[in-house]
Assembly symmetry: C2
Homo-oligomer: 530 residues x 2
C-alpha cells in the first residue's frame, strides 16, 4: 500500500471550508434564492438531474469542495476500488482485507472493464441466470405438477434483503407473467408466518440468500419455509434456490434446485446488482429489464469518475453531504422520495449509509477527528408532509433533505381534478417543499413564521423505470463510498454488529437453562421475562 | 386562563438537572450495569413493563426529574386536557383554540369519565359503528349482487393514515371473516393504481377519512377510486363510507353509504382510537376486539395520572426522553420494535412526535430557550441489527434507543432450531442489543472496540394483542403530550405545514400556464421540468 490516505481534516481545503462555513449562503435572505441561482445550480447526469440551488453554497464553496475531493484523492480511490485494489481494510490491525468490486456486477457493457476477471465472473453469472429464467419461461423448470412458478419468496436479511426489496417495490409495475415476490427477513416467527399464510406454496420458489451461509435469521426462516413445504407435501429441493458464497455451508446442490454465487469482494449492502438482487429481479421483471437496470447503474459508475464536481452528480451529492455534515454540523439526512414506489428506498439507504460510514476509527486505525456518517431516514412525499415536515420547517433541529422526484408517473393511471393531475400535484408539492424550506416566510404571528434557510436538494428524472432505478441505486452507492473516502473510514466492514451477536448467544444459553458465565445475561433475562 | 405554564428551563429542578448532566451515570464502567440495577430500574405498568436500567440515570436523577415534572405541572395539565380545557392554543396571537380530547375516545369504561359530554359522544359513535358492523355481519349491508364485503380501502393521509395503518398491520392476525384492508394515502397516482389493481372492487368498501373534508390528497384519491368503481359498473354511493367533521364538504349522506364523525377536539395524529381508526379496525377485527383495543388505551390513560414517576410508565418514558434530549443533548430517538407486526409503528410515532413537538415557539408565543422535540425514526429488529445498528454501536452520534418487545409471538407458528425457537432468538437479540449498547466492550483492535454507554430502554409485554396495542399507542400519546408540556410548546397544532401548501398552489398555477405572480415558482418549474 503506497502511502496513507488523507482524511478531510488533513487537507488544506478543510481549513478554507471551515472559514467559509462561518458565514454560509443565506437562502432566506432577499435575493437569496433567485431564478438565476436555480438555473445555475443544476448538475445534469444520466437519468437524473441534481438541483442544488437550495444548498447553502456559493461558487467558492463548490470550488473548495472540489479541491477537498481532489486532495482526498476521492476519484483515484474510486478507480482503484473499481479495478480491484484491496480497499476493505484498516492498517496495523487484522481486518477483512478484501477487494470491493460491487461495480463489477454492472461493468459488463464496456470492452475495457475496470476489473476484467470480476466482470467476466459477472457475465458468466448473468448467463447462468438467463438460462435459468429461460427454462422457467419455457416450462422446462416447473413444480411437481407441471405448473409454472408464479411466486418467489426471497429469504434474506440486511444487505440480502433491503436493497433487493426496495428495488422490487420500485419496479413492481414492470412485473411480467403475473409474477409476485414476497420477502421474509426478520427472525420474528410472525414474519414468515404472515407470508406463508398468503402464498400458494406449490407454485412458489424460495430464494435463500446468505453469503456466509450461516446467517442466524436466514437459516431459521429457511427451516421454517422448508418445513411448510414438507407439510404441504412438496419437496423443498425442487422449490429452493440459493445465493451464497462458494464453499459456504449452503453451497450444497443437493438441497437446492439451483445455486447462484456471491463473492467476498461484494459487500451485502452493495449487493443489489449482484445475484443477490438479480435472481429475484430477473424472476419478477424478466432478463431484458434486469439488464436495463444494470445499464442504468453502469452509466452512473462511468460518470462517477469525472473529475469535475459540477458534472458528476454522485460526487457532488457526496461533497454537498460532507459540507452539511462536517462543516455546517447537521447530523441527520432525510431522504424523501416523491414516489410511492420508492417507499422502501430510504430504508435501504439507511443501511447502506449508516452501516458503511457509522464508524469512529479511520483506515489508519486512529480515531476520527471529525464526525463521520450521518443518521439517514425518510418516508415518501407527500405522505411525510402530513407527518414529520412540521419539525423540518419549524423545529429546533436542522435536517439536510434530499428529495427524489419524477416528471411522470409509472402507471399513467391518473385523472385531472381541479385542473391538475395527481402527478402534477405530486411534483408541485415536491418543488414547493424545497422552496418553502429554503426561503421561509415571515409573519407577525411567531407561530406562523418559517425561518427558512433549511438545506435541500432534488434528484429528478423522467420516470421510475428499471434503468433509472439502477441509476439511483448506483448514484447513492457512489455517494456513500465517496464520503467514506473523505472521512477516511473503512466503509466496507461492519465490526459494530459483532458484540450483539455474542451477547445474544449468552442470553440464548441462559434461556436453555444453562447458567451463563456472564451472570448479567441471566439477570437481564430474569428481569425481562418474569 | 389562570397563569402561564412554565417551561422546564423556568423550573428550579432544571438547574439541578443541568448540574447532574455534567457527570451522568456511566453504564460502561465496571459495576455500571449490575443485576441489582437491572432489578431496581423497572416500572411495571398495565400490559407493558418499562426496563430502564440502561438509561444514564441515578435515583437522584429520577427524583429530580420527578421534581421537574411536578414543577411543570405535567400531570395537572394532562388532567385538565382530559377534562376538556382548551389546550390547543398559544397566547397573544390567533391560534386554533380547541379542546384536546382524544382520550375521551376510550374514556368509556368509567362511571366518572373525565369529560362527560365527549365520552357520551364516543359511546354514541361506537354504538353507531357496532350497528353498522352488525349489519355487515348479518348481510343486511352487502354489495349490488348480495355478496358480503370482504375488503376495505382506507383512504386518508397523515394522521388519518399512519396511526390506523400501523395498528392494522400490528393486528392482522386478529382479522376475522378473511377480511382484508388496504390503504391509499399518497397523491402519487401510482399509490392508488397499485391498490386498485389488487382488489375486487365489487366486494370492496371504500372508507374516506378527512376531518376537514378538503384534504387535497384524500379527495384526489377518492375521485380516482370512485372513477374506478364507476368504470367497473358499480355505484360509489353503495361502496363509500366517510369519516369526517360535521358540516364538512364531505358530510353529504347522499354520496356515502354511511358517515361517521370526528371532532375539532381530536387532532389527526391522536385520532387512532376515534372513528378514524375504529371503523377500519372494527371491520377488520370485529367489534369485541376493537373494544379490547380501546380498553388497553383507557387503562394507560388511568395510570398516566399517577403522580409517582416510578409507577407511571408514560410519564417516566417522557421524562427519560427529556433527560436525554434536553440535558444529555441527543437529538435522535430510534424506536426499535422487535416485532414485525409493528413495522409501521415507528412511522406513526415519527408523525405523532415530530408534528407535535417539532416547534420553536412556546405557548406564550416566545421562542423556546431549549431544544424541543427530537427526530424520531426506526425499523423492526432484528432487521435493523443488519442495517443501521453499526452506527448506533460505533458511530460518532449518540441516539436514544427505545426498544419494544414481546415474550410470545402472535401466531405461535414457530419451531426450535439449534435448541431455541425463533421467538426466543428474537427476544435474546433484543436483550443482547440493549446490554451491548450499554456496557460496550474493549479490544486491543480499535476497530473492534465498543464504547458503550449508549442509552436505551425496553418496553416489554407478553404478546402483541388488540389490548396491548391500545396500551402501546396510548403510552406514546401520553409521552408525547407530557414532553410538550415540559417544553411548553403547543403539541396540538401544525402551522409548519401551511407554507408548502401555499407554494404548491403557486406551482400548480404555473403548471396550468397561468404565470404566477411569484416568478420563483415559475422559474423552479422551468428548471425542474425541461
Amino acid at each position: 500500500m503506497e502511502g496513507k490516505w488523507k482524511s478531510i481534516d488533513e487537507c488544506d481545503a478543510f481549513v478554507a471550508l471551515e472559514e467559509l462555513a462561518k458565514n454560509p449562503f443565506d437562502l432566506s435572505a432577499e435575493n437569496g434564492l433567485t431564478p438565476e441561482r436555480m438555473k445555475k445550480y443544476i448538475c445534469k447526469g444520466t437519468e437524473f438531474d441534481l438541483l442544488y440551488c437550495c444548498q447553502r453554497v456559493t461558487e467558492q464553496v463548490i470550488d473548495t469542495l472540489q479541491l477537498l475531493a481532489d486532495q482526498c484523492k476521492v476519484l483515484e480511490q474510486f478507480e482503484e476500488m473499481r479495478s480491484g485494489r484491496v480497499m476493505n481494510r484498516i492498517e496495523n490491525f487484522p481486518s477483512e482485507e478484501r477487494q470491493v468490486l460491487h461495480t463489477s456486477c454492472r461493468d459488463i457493457f464496456s470492452d475495457t472493464p475496470a476489473c476484467e476477471t470480476a466482470s467476466l465472473q459477472s457475465k458468466n453469472d448473468l448467463a447462468q441466470l438467463k438460462k435459468f429464467l429461460n427454462e422457467l419461461d419455457e416450462g422446462d423448470i416447473c413444480n411437481e405438477f407441471g405448473q409454472a412458478f408464479t411466486t418467489l419468496i426471497h429469504v434474506g436479511i440486511g444487505g440480502s434483503d433491503l436493497g433487493p426489496r426496495s428495488v422490487y417495490e420500485a419496479l413492481r409495475p414492470y412485473s411480467q407473467n403475473n409474477r409476485e415476490v414476497f420477502f421474509i427477513s426478520n427472525v420474528d416467527p410472525d414474519d414468515s408466518a404472515a407470508i406463508l399464510e398468503r402464498v400458494d406454496l406449490s407454485k412458489t420458489l424460495v430464494l435463500v440468500v446468505s453469503k456466509s451461509g450461516t446467517t442466524l435469521e436466514t437459516l431459521s426462516n429457511e427451516t421454517l419455509v422448508r418445513t411448510a413445504l414438507k407439510d404441504a407435501g412438496l419437496d423443498p429441493a425442487l422449490h429452493c434456490l440459493a445465493v451464497t458464497g462458494k464453499t459456504s455451508p449452503m453451497d450444497n446442490p443437493k438441497r437446492y434446485l439451483r445455486t447462484f454465487y456471491m463473492y467476498d469482494y461484494i459487500g451485502g449492502r452493495f449487493s443489489s446488482t449482484s445475484m443477490v438482487g438479480a435472481v429475484m429481479l430477473g424472476f419478477a421483471i424478466g432478463y431484458e429489464q434486469l439488464v436495463e437496470f444494470l445499464q442504468g447503474a453502469a452509466e452512473i459508475d462511468e460518470v462517477a469518475i469525472k473529475k469535475d464536481l459540477r458534472a458528476n452528480p454522485a460526487l457532488l451529492l457526496a461533497m454537498l453531504g460532507v459540507w452539511n455534515r462536517t462543516f455546517l454540523g447537521m447530523n441527520n439526512v432525510a431522504v424523501l422520495p416523491y414516489s410511492q414506489g420508492l417507499h422502501r428506498f430510504p430504508a435501504h439507504l439507511q443501511q447502506c449509509d449508516m452501516e458503511s460510514n457509522g464508524k469512529s476509527i479511520k483506515r489508519d486505525s486512529e480515531a476520527v477527528a471529525v464526525k463521520s456518517g450521518p443518521i439517514v431516514w425518510g418516508e415518501p412525499g407527500t405522505n411525510g408532509q402530513h407527518a414529520f415536515y412540521q419539525l423540518l420547517h419549524q423545529g429546533t433541529e436542522d435536517v439536510a433533505v434530499e428529495f427524489i422526484g419524477f416528471r411522470e408517473s409509472q402507471r399513467k393511471k391518473d385523472i385531472k381534478i381541479k385542473g391538475s393531475s395527481s402527478q402534477q400535484k405530486l411534483l408541485a408539492n415536491l418543488l414547493a417543499q424545497s422552496m418553502a424550506l429554503a426561503v421561509g416566510k415571515n409573519d407577525v404571528n411567531p407561530n406562523k413564521r418559517f425561518p427558512g434557510n433549511k438545506v435541500n436538494s432534488i434528484l429528478i428524472a423522467d420516470k421510475l423505470t428499471p434503468k433509472s432505478m439502477g441509476a439511483l441505486l448506483a448514484l447513492y452507492e457512489a455517494k456513500i463510498v465517496f464520503q467514506g473516502f473523505c472521512w477516511n473510514v473503512n466503509s466496507f466492514d461492519q465490526e459494530g454488529v459483532q458484540l450483539g451477536k455474542i451477547l445474544a448467544g449468552e442470553i440464548l444459553l441462559a434461556m436453555k437453562g444453562k447458567k451463563s458465565d456472564r451472570s448479567l445475561a441471566q439477570a437481564f433475562l430474569d428481569v425481562a421475562c418474569v
